[in-house]
Symmetry: C2
């Protein structure tokens, strides 16, 4: 899996909902109504991440979830990250 | 809920498994076999946290889970944090 160039990342990120690129990863921050909603969302993402064999770095504090995606083996952002980001956006769209 | 003194925290933390106190919170870091095990554990904690109406700040990267507990309203660590920490230790003991 090849690391994407900055130009490629900027093009692809434009198709996502609310993601930013910095420090060699793509990031989003999502706010939910409460902890239960936040963790339920994480659970749905967890199953998809496992299925894609690609896992997020994520932090949860009460109703907030911060997600960072990177491909450590490639030393940056790859198509796998955009695939999982797209899945996350789709799950959010279903909320 | 009253903020505990440093002395009280140090006494209580001695009864826990592998927690440290710094920056006005208590912290632990747990390593699991893989993502599935890590997230399954988080799910069990999530239900207990919700039941205790007290929620962790936590980060997961693949098989690792870092947990920080503090009581924001009290500006430090309270009995509620030790209650949840003890629950987490008990769940780990059942693994």
């Amino acid at each position: 899996m090849m690391k994407l160039s900055k130009k490629e990342i900027q093009e692809k990120i434009a198709n996502l909902s609310d993601w930013t690129y910095n420090e060699n990863a793509i990031h989003t921050k999502i706010e939910f109504e409460n902890f239960k909603e936040a963790f339920s969302f994480m659970t749905r993402v967890a199953f998809e991440a496992e299925a894609q064999a690609h896992h997020p770095e994520w932090t949860n504090v009460y109703n907030q979830v911060e997600v960072s995606l990177a491909t450590h083996d490639a030393g940056g952002v790859t198509q796998k990250d955009f695939q999982l980001a797209k899945t996350i956006d789709q799950l959010l769209g279903e909320e």
